[in-house]
């Protein structure tokens, strides 16, 4: 039989039995599409978490008061030290050549009230540089005024959720509210944004650092955020910072430096687990898709065992029968796999539109594995029953059974 005739024979099977072909294609593409969609959810989760941890920005360094030994656990968010880190320390670091913007932070919990509504929230005292350093954008009004660098002006920026709780839908700008016993004027509202580094910026009030010193009656900084002038100066900057602190702290560099590197490193385990989960999701969905395709291949070939017997009776050798069925399976699973990949990608694109915050993305290796699995499974489980039927004497195959009865 010529190759062209084989191909013609195969396409006749697929084209002239439209419903059968459509159902088989549907099943195969469903299996492949589910692998694409499921892995895109898993990979999306992994990327989401990775994105959260790298939101810090590569050029940011965090200085915490107190020295903590590296124990391989989570990074020390709260250092312990007898010696405070002060605004003066921050200003001294700001004069280092490798350091750009500096945002010292004093943090505490304070009662914020407007009219008869009061909320206990985390209140940050900081400088205007805090906003660009943390990539915070103002949704309404202004960030802290420039004077907030070194004077206790009674100005305040609200988180989006806190604003909603205190003011509802009315305009909070230039309204006065109380933080503890002091009065502050609202100058801006942060744009709605999710959690970041464990701090819910939506539920927070931000005031000038000098005001916070007075409010909490303490000059001890919670931390200092530093922005490097150049990315490749990380090591140099770390060294300069420690030297400068040693100079100011009687010869002790009693601070802890955290960079994005070390953060990401500590969360490596989380990311590794997530990556493994994506792999597991892919493996399970591939297995299910493979079994699905195995079943339809087995059924569709066994249904045609009589045809195999007839072809043999008409003089087709076993090799030719096998080739016919294997080619048919390749045609069918190949187009099913392509359809399924396209459908899966379409679903992912749709999901991205509906949930723009979540980075759905099917890994390429998962798509390739799905296509290979579909074609492999289709091939193997068509070849196997076709081969078995082709080995039988025609009279047995035509009877449609593997055993013989007269």
């Amino acid at each position: 039989m010529t190759l062209i005739d084989q191909l013609r024979f195969n396409t006749q099977v697929l084209v002239r039995q439209r419903w059968r072909t459509a159902l088989l294609l549907l099943t195969i593409s469903l299996g492949v599409a589910s692998v694409v969609v499921l892995t895109s959810v898993g990979e999306g989760a992994r990327r989401y978490v990775a994105g959260e941890f790298s939101a810090l920005g590569q050029q940011i360094l965090i200085v915490l008061p107190g020295k903590t030994e590296t124990r391989g656990g989570a990074p020390p968010l709260y250092g312990t030290s007898p010696r405070d880190l002060t605004l003066e320390d921050a200003n001294a670091l700001a004069r280092l050549g490798s350091i750009g913007r500096v945002a010292p932070i004093i943090a505490g919990t304070a009662r914020v009230s407007h009219g008869n509504i009061a909320r206990e929230v985390i209140t940050l005292g900081t400088t205007p540089d805090f906003f660009p350093v943390r990539n915070l954008t103002i949704g309404l009004g202004q960030p802290l005024p420039a004077s907030a660098v070194d004077s206790a002006s009674p100005t305040l920026v609200l988180g989006a959720k806190l604003k909603q709780q205190l003011f509802g839908n009315s305009n909070p700008l230039n309204q006065w509210l109380r933080v503890g016993e002091r009065r502050f004027r609202v100058v801006g509202v942060l744009e709605e944004r999710g959690e970041s580094l464990g701090l819910d910026m939506r539920d927070m009030a931000i005031i000038p650092i000098r005001s916070a010193e007075q409010l909490f009656d303490s000059a001890g900084l919670f931390r200092i955020l530093l922005e490097l002038k150049q990315l490749d100066q990380l090591a140099l900057a770390k060294q300069q910072i420690l030297e400068r602190i040693r100079l100011r702290h009687d010869g002790e560099d009693d601070v802890t430096l955290i960079s994005q590197d070390s953060m990401l490193h500590s969360f490596d385990n989380v990311l590794r687990t997530l990556t493994a989960s994506v792999g597991a999701i892919a493996a399970i969905s591939l297995l299910v898709a493979g079994i699905l395709i195995m079943n339809i291949s087995l059924i569709s070939v066994s249904q045609r065992q009589r045809e195999i017997g007839l072809l043999k009776a008409l003089g087709a050798p076993a090799n030719l029968v096998r080739a016919l069925f294997v080619n048919e399976a390749l045609l069918l699973t190949g187009s099913g796999a392509l359809l399924g990949t396209a459908a899966g990608e379409l679903a992912v694109a749709l999901a991205l539109r509906l949930l723009p915050g979540f980075p759905f993305s099917a890994p390429l290796w998962a798509e390739l594995a799905a296509i290979l699995m579909a074609m492999g499974s289709g091939l193997l489980f068509s070849w196997w029953p076709a081969s078995r039927a082709a080995r039988l004497d025609p009279v047995l195959a035509m009877r449609g059974a593997s055993g013989g009865q007269q």
Binding site: D5, Q12, L310, L311, K312, G315, P394, L396, M398, Q405
Partner: protein, 234 residues
């Protein structure tokens, strides 16, 4: 038994051919040490009660089944030792088989069904068309070339099956109850068609349990319990 032309090698030569099938815990002797010679050009009926092994005998001669013991020489060639590839080739080139249930492929047109053996043999497309059409006209179904089996009557379907069996112009034509699924009128038409092919020189073996049909042949074999109990040439 003596062959009618002792000088020529018989077309079919069976010696001590046996076949058993397991039925539950017992073995059914479908064929029991059959000895049989059939010469080219003969017209033979194989009769017998159901279960006597007549279809099994025809399947053996058609190389659709394998004996447990004994031998079968087709045109003087021992068939037991033939590799699968060779057996397929013998079926394709030397034997035309006609089934009671027609066994046409429903998705293929009459012409495509008939051309299937030519296609399997790897003939060029144009040659397939030409010889397929020729066979179709020979069975009187030229106008039905592009119709599917389910658009044809039973008699027409069996004629398509006959055209498929003769399209490779084999010397041997085997028909297993060819009229079993047909009304009497179509049955007679089919038999006359087969007899015409026999007149042109094809050896014709028909399995039947219809005595009227058996009487038309020139040699009648009767099987009972897997043995030939009579071999008559009226």
């Amino acid at each position: 038994m003596s062959a009618s032309s002792p000088t020529a090698t018989p077309l079919i030569d069976l010696y001590q051919l046996s076949k058993q099938y397991p039925i539950g815990n017992n073995l059914l002797k479908a064929l029991d040490r059959i000895d049989l010679q059939i010469n080219a050009g003969e017209y033979v009926a194989i009769t017998g009660p159901s279960g006597s092994g007549k279809s099994t005998l025809l399947n053996m001669i058609g190389l659709l089944d394998r004996p447990d013991s004994g031998g079968y020489r087709l045109r003087g060639e021992t068939t037991e030792a033939l590799a699968e590839e060779r057996r397929a080739r013998r079926r394709r080139e030397q034997i035309g088989f006609i089934f009671q249930a027609f066994h046409l492929i429903p998705r293929l047109s009459a012409l495509e069904n008939i051309s299937l053996p030519l296609m399997l043999a790897g003939l060029p497309r144009a040659e397939q068309q030409r010889r397929g059409m020729q066979a179709l006209q020979q069975v009187g179904l030229g106008p039905q070339a592009s119709q599917r089996p389910n658009q044809l009557s039973g008699g027409q379907q069996q004629r398509v099956a006959i055209a498929r069996a003769i399209v490779m112009q084999p010397p041997l034509l085997l028909a297993d109850e060819p009229t079993g699924n047909l009304d009497q009128h179509s049955g007679v038409e089919v038999i006359e068609l087969l007899e015409g092919l026999n007149d042109q020189g094809m050896t014709l073996l028909i399995v039947t349990h219809d005595p009227a049909l058996a009487k038309r042949t020139r040699r009648q074999l009767q099987l009972v319990d897997g043995r030939i109990v009579s071999d008559q040439r009226p």
